[in-house]
């Protein structure tokens, strides 16, 4: 069951102030409407994982670990690897995150990140088959929110991409039906990947990368994923409001430009 969430997180005065600033093209942290907060990417921080990364966008922190293990392929793709994404909204990340099974926001986030990778075939699953129809590599991508200060979608996806781009896969040999893992490692085979860009609609203004106060004041959010060839690969609207068609068109254009900047950052960080 999906239920309207409480809108109690923010003072009316504060929300009105943010909306008023937005109408003048200003933000409470003095950013320009189309500026991201500072993005920091660290990779290789969890040695026991095949790959890992932490991305900070402003004060939002998400850490992603990639574990690659042998498993069974899906019956309809017997010669391909398996990709699975899970998101944990750990209680330490925000006072309102509770213990328990994943809630709809966590499920939505993990599915957005998953689709971003899956449709574009970012992970080359065709190269992860061990024994056709029987054994394959399963890539577990686990997203851990550490500190929620807005825009978990972008932070999680950038961290997942950074972790995957620096993931190492052990070489292996199959001898008499037994899988022998060797010590040599190869990078996880990756293809092109889309970069998500998230907008908030505040009053009648679109802004990029909402921080948590802006998320409480926004009427709706729109995430647009753009790949290396400037194609639209993913979209997701969230929130209680809506967008006019012209706002969506303009968001796509901005996302095409912005994704290039973010892509550069990720390539730098995962070199």
């Amino acid at each position: 069951m999906s239920t309207t969430p409480h809108s109690s997180e923010i003072l009316t005065l504060e929300r009105d102030h943010i909306i008023d600033l937005a109408s003048k093209g200003k933000r409470i942290d003095n950013r320009a409407p189309m500026d991201y907060r500072e993005i920091k990417i660290q990779t290789g921080i969890i040695e026991k994982a095949n790959g890992s990364a932490q991305v900070d966008i402003g004060q939002t922190k998400v850490i992603v670990g990639v574990k690659i293990q042998a498993g069974t392929p899906f019956p309809d793709t017997p010669n391909e690897g398996v990709q699975t994404v899970n998101a944990e909204f750990t209680p330490l990340a925000h006072p309102t995150f509770e213990l328990g099974p994943p809630q709809e926001n966590s499920i939505e986030l993990s599915r957005i990140v998953d689709r971003n990778l899956r449709e574009s075939k970012a992970i080359d699953l065709t190269k992860l088959c061990i024994v056709p129809g029987k054994k394959t590599f399963v890539v577990f991508i686990d997203l851990n929110m550490l500190d929620h200060y807005g825009n978990l979608i972008d932070a999680s996806t950038y961290a997942a991409l950074s972790a995957l781009l620096t993931s190492k896969l052990n070489e292996y040999e199959v001898k008499h039906d037994e899988l022998i893992i060797k010590d040599n490692q190869q990078p996880l085979p990756m293809n092109d990947y889309p970069i998500p860009i998230t907008f908030a609609k505040i009053g009648k203004t679109l802004m990029l990368d909402p921080n948590i106060q802006e998320e409480h004041a926004m009427s709706a959010r729109l995430t647009v994923g753009i790949d290396n060839e400037d194609c639209v690969c993913a979209m997701q609207k969230g929130g209680l409001g809506g967008f006019e068609p012209s706002e969506i068109e303009s968001a796509v254009e901005t996302a095409i430009q912005k994704s290039k900047e973010i892509r550069k950052l990720i390539i730098e960080a995962t070199r």
């Binding site: 239920t3 309207t4 939505e108 599915r111 639209v232 690969c233 997701q236 969230g238 409001g241 796509v252």
Partner: protein
């Protein structure tokens, strides 16, 4: 999947919707209800409310809360679906609720809940769109105050052709899937999702095709409501059809 006459596997043109049947007020107990058949999709929606809200911690002091559940019947798909809610159903419940929220005048009934129960009895692609179309009708049928009905439709791409209202096969083997929901009077898009790959030009074409599809479906929704409630014994037929007041 598209032949040389430009027709799709099921014989439709790229801009042609599946045949749609809409019925309003089909359930006795629910305050409002609607049923949609769109191609092989068969979806029934029941609405209860506004009613008292339990558990109390869900109460919102200045408006009605909206609760929405999208569920696929185990027999609705080719392979039997496990009855437990899947992550996909959880996400779809959320995006459907968020598609309908902007249309509901929820401030009229503070501290209550409006429950929307969607049962997809047979699924063949585009079920979230069909659900929104029926749910909007069910809300109106229940006497819940609405700004207007929400319409919904998907577009996609198959073999490089942009097409409207994908069915399951086209969704699975196509190159893009873009469902949207629209409040036509307000020109407000209340749901948009996309996965696949579309160039900016293809996106523009697809998006506009989807908006057009929503408008067509909106007319069908309005007809369905009027058909249901047109009473035989008709009303005072007045002398003039319009009145002008200066």
């Amino acid at each position: 999947m598209i032949d040389d006459k430009g027709l799709r596997l099921d014989g439709r043109r790229p801009d042609e919707l599946r045949s749609i049947k809409l019925q309003v007020g089909v359930l006795h107990n629910a305050n409002g209800s609607a049923y949609i058949e769109q191609g092989k999709n068969k979806i029934i929606v029941g609405v209860y409310g506004p009613r008292e809200i339990h558990p109390k911690h869900l109460i919102i002091s200045d408006r009605a809360a909206i609760r929405c559940r999208y569920r696929m019947a185990p027999f609705s798909t080719d392979e039997r679906k496990h009855p437990a809610p899947s992550r996909r159903e959880v996400e779809i419940s959320k995006v459907i609720r968020e598609a309908l929220e902007p249309s509901v005048l929820s401030e009229y009934y503070p501290r209550t809940v409006i429950d929307i129960f969607i049962e997809a009895l047979q699924c063949d692609g585009g079920t979230r769109c069909a659900s929104i179309v029926a749910a909007s009708l069910a809300l109106a049928d229940a006497g819940i105050p609405l700004k207007e009905l929400v319409s919904s439709c998907s577009v996609g791409k198959v073999k490089g052709h942009v097409i409207v209202d994908l069915y399951d096969l086209e969704d699975k083997y196509g190159e893009a899937d873009l469902p949207i929901a629209l409040m036509p009077n307000h020109n407000l898009v209340t749901l948009i999702q996309m996965d696949g790959k579309l160039s900016k030009e293809e996106f523009d074409k697809a998006f506009n095709m989807a908006l057009e599809g929503c408008r067509k479906i909106s007319n069908l929704q309005n007809d369905a409501l009027k058909r249901k409630y047109k009473l035989e014994s008709d009303t005072e037929t007045s002398k003039d059809s319009k009145e002008e007041v200066k």
